[in-house]
């Protein structure tokens, strides 16, 4: 009896592992990525000069820079969103006023307001991994969604705006 228990041990360990895996497979998953912890929480106050008190949510906060190639790619889509009536607040990440002015003059200005985050403090607070990155803030001021990387296609944009208007 004692002897056969030892040879049974590997099977027991394996069964326990298999049960664990089955449980984890059945559990809901987030496609391997953990979404922003800000989601479902009020938008934090950002340490930036000139925060526009008169702009009321819902709006989209878009972090961008003139030196960022993907930002230039998503720029026409931001203009289209603005034309469709979406309020977008731009945060220029580690950039200069002169460069941003030039950039917005050339590509058009989709932003209701542009703030400057030259030290990247707002970026750290928002936990961004790079630019462009956008946050949808609903009418109650709650962060509803985050978009990492550019708005490249209509589906992504529609889903995002729908979250903001919820």
């Amino acid at each position: 009896m004692k002897k056969s228990f030892i040879t049974l041990l590997p099977l027991l360990v394996f069964v326990l592992l298999a049960l664990l895996f089955a449980d984890r497979l059945a559990a809901p998953r987030m496609n391997g990525a953990i979404d922003s912890p800000l989601i479902g929480k009020p938008m934090p106050e950002l340490p930036l000069a000139g925060w526009p008190k008169d702009i009321k949510p819902p709006y989209i906060i878009n972090l961008f820079a003139s030196w960022c190639a993907p930002c230039a790619i998503e720029h026409p889509n931001l203009i289209a969103m603005q034309k469709a009536g979406v309020t977008i607040i731009g945060i220029a990440y580690k950039d200069t006023q002169a460069n941003i002015k030039k950039y917005l003059k050339a590509g058009g200005n989709p932003y209701k307001a542009v703030l400057y985050d030259d030290k990247g403090e707002a970026a750290i607070l928002l936990g961004i991994t790079g630019v462009p990155e956008s946050f949808a803030v609903d009418a109650q001021g709650i962060v509803r969604a985050r978009q990492q990387g550019p708005f490249a296609d209509a589906d992504t944009i529609n889903d995002f705006v729908r979250e903001m208007r919820k």
């Binding site: 590997p10 497979l25 950039d95």
Partner: protein, 625 residues
């Protein structure tokens, strides 16, 4: 048309695999069944090769009516990445996996060294079962041959990180190792069925273990090198769950290599050796499950699909559950109760096995701990390098001490204590080298000392045997020496790494370690399927060009570090972000000097070479027999 032939061959292969499994496992012994099982395995290999060729054809000709090609290729991609792109995705890599599985099936069918017809037939049967399950998995949940009726003009391209020569070789080598253990698993299950586990079985299994182990070692080393040079990760091991998944079968496989020696020489450790053979492949399957089911998040994870996860878990349960059940039933019949004298080669190997298996259990626990905590609803966490450094590294120290001493010990019992003097000499060399090197701190000193001790012991064994060096001695000495060398490389990179991060304007000069560098600015360059910012950094008469690449088709960015290699150290430059605060063309540049990296790679290469010696030696022995 050619793609259809491939698809058709793949479906036929399922039938061939079923025939191989049934004829191999049929209880009644008959010559006809043996012949059918062997021929089915050859037919299976041929069909899978045809299927693989069909998929390669679709990739090379950029046939965008095949879904898998659309998702993972692009017409502008260089040819070599089109070829390698086949296994850069879940479906295609599964096909490669199956190809390897059938290669090992054919080897079991044809190797003349397997002199027990019943063992061969049973092993072919188990191998056929494995092939049946995985071909069914591939056909039903991840078929690479599916077409679309609306072919697009061009594909979505391959993840740019994977567009590298490292990709062409790293996965196939690693798979050869993972899947190589399938043959060891089949032979172990077959031995449990026939009830014959003896030194003859050890002799039969050895070349398979050697081939799998050497491929796994090479695959791990290549992956580590790829991460270091091409991905700009700046390190060579990260304790990522999937890296751990490749380390686990390596650890138990290494234990198996050593326990086979005892089984062959003394006819002992039968149950334990069989268990290691089953566990090594089970851990390979576990790795496959972890990578492809998405239960763990990892840099290596494929696209997540719960159905696939369920299917692989089912296969895992059938194969591992089946093998462990068979083990529980049959292993008690294997009798080998023999006591070893404490100071003997076999005792050394038993302790070596215990340490290696404890290491594997520790790594497995660390890898699965986040899953367990999440399952129990206790916490969401990840286990990082500190855990492994505190546990595995500590276990490595006694292992290395043993690695130096063990090979000098005689089998059975020491008649005369001849090994004491050379071992003492090695210890003196190790202590002297540590004191001369000027290393400070207890752990680094012990690490360096044990590495020197292992190297000295290996060299002294070669010296003693200098007139008549066999491949066996060479395999052992090279493997141990290589590991010692690798540890010295690891210590060097950890202890003497110099890192420097600064913002530079064009024309600025700076000094890091022994290098005087000048930053000459950043310009835009264009490759076939990407655009890049490329810096020019001058070092004497040479220029280095780190890049940040932007791939518009897949909308992703990669870092191409510039690396200058010397025997002494690696100069490693990464281009960071632009920083306009410091000037219109100011950029962040990270410069790192990694000393002794070439030592690390040289050590790994020796380990792989020792595997080759072992493979050669395990064949040579058989020809004589």
């Amino acid at each position: 048309m050619i793609v259809e032939i491939g698809h058709f061959a793949f479906i036929l292969a399922l039938a061939a695999a079923i025939i191989q499994a049934v004829s191999g496992l049929m209880p009644r012994d008959s010559l006809a069944a043996s012949a059918i099982a062997a021929r089915a395995s050859m037919a299976l290999l041929g069909l899978i090769m045809l299927a693989f060729a069909g998929l390669e054809y679709a990739y090379i000709t950029s046939d965008f009516s095949v879904l898998n090609v659309i998702m993972n290729s692009h017409s502008l991609k260089p040819l070599v990445y089109k070829i390698a792109g086949v296994w850069g995705n879940h479906e295609g890599s599964m096909l490669l996996w199956i190809l390897m599985l059938t290669v090992f099936g054919a080897l079991i069918a044809t190797l003349p060294t397997i002199d027990d017809p019943l063992l061969r037939r049973r092993a072919l049967g188990v191998q056929g079962l494995l092939a049946t399950g995985f071909i069914a998995f591939s056909l039903f949940t991840s078929n690479p041959f599916l077409r679309t009726d609306m072919p697009p003009l061009d594909g979505n391209s391959l993840n740019p990180v994977l567009q590298d020569l490292g990709l062409a070789f790293h996965p196939p080598t690693l798979y050869l190792g993972y899947v190589g253990f399938s043959s060891v698993f089949s032979l172990a299950a077959a031995a449990l069925l026939t009830g014959q586990v003896d030194n003859n079985w050890a002799r039969i299994v050895k070349p398979f273990v050697a081939l799998a182990w050497l491929s796994l070692s090479a695959g791990i080393a290549m992956g580590s090198k790829w991460a270091y040079y091409e991905l700009g990760w700046g390190g060579w091991w990260f304790w990522d769950p999937v890296e751990n998944a490749s380390l686990l079968p390596w650890l138990t496989g290494t234990a198996l290599l050593h326990s086979l020696l005892v089984l062959e020489a003394r006819g002992a450790l039968k149950r334990w050796t069989i268990l290691l053979a089953v566990v090594s492949f089970s851990l390979s399957l576990l790795g496959t499950f972890l990578v492809r089911s998405g239960v763990l998040s990892s840099v290596h994870a494929f696209a997540v699909d719960p159905l696939r996860g369920t299917f692989i878990l089912m296969l895992l349960s059938v194969y591992c559950g089946g093998a462990f059940s068979l083990y529980a039933l049959r292993a008690p019949m294997l009798k080998t109760i023999r006591l070893f004298t404490p100071v003997s080669r076999e005792s050394g190997i038993v302790v070596n096995n215990m340490i290696l298996v404890t290491m594997a259990a520790t790594v497995l626990t660390g890898t699965l701990y986040p899953l367990l905590m999440d399952a129990l609803g206790l916490a969401q966490l990840s286990v990082g390098a500190p855990y492994y450094n505190a546990t595995v590294v500590m276990m490595a120290i006694p292992l290395f001490i043993l690695m130096g001493a063990g090979p000098m010990l005689p089998w059975k019992r020491p008649g005369r204590w001849l090994f004491v003097r050379p071992l003492g000499l090695c210890a003196v060399i190790a202590i002297a080298a540590t004191l001369i090197s000027g290393i400070k701190g207890a752990l680094p000193m012990v690490g360096f000392g044990t590495a020197v001790w292992v190297m000295a012991s290996s060299l002294s064994i070669l010296w003693v045997a200098r007139k008549n060096i066999t491949l066996k001695t060479l395999a052992m000495s090279l493997g141990h020496f290589g590991l010692g060398l690798a540890v010295i490389g690891m210590m060097g990179t950890m202890l003497w790494k110099t890192e420097d991060i600064r913002v530079l304007n064009p024309g600025d000069t700076y000094t890091v370690g022994r290098y005087d560098l000048r930053f000459d600015g950043v310009r835009d360059v264009f490759g076939p399927n990407y655009g890049a910012s490329e810096a020019t950094i001058t070092l004497g008469a040479e220029t280095l060009h780190p890049q940040k690449r932007w791939y518009p088709v897949s909308e992703s960015e990669t870092t191409e570090s510039a690396i200058r290699l010397t025997a002494l150290d690696d100069l490693y430059i990464v281009l960071g972000e632009r920083d306009l605060k410091f000037g219109p063309d100011a950029w962040v540049i990270r410069t790192t000097i990694h000393p002794f990296v070439s030592t690390l790679w040289a050590g790994f290469s020796l380990v792989v070479l020792s595997g080759l010696c072992m493979l050669g030696y395990s064949f040579k022995r058989k020809r004589a027999a």
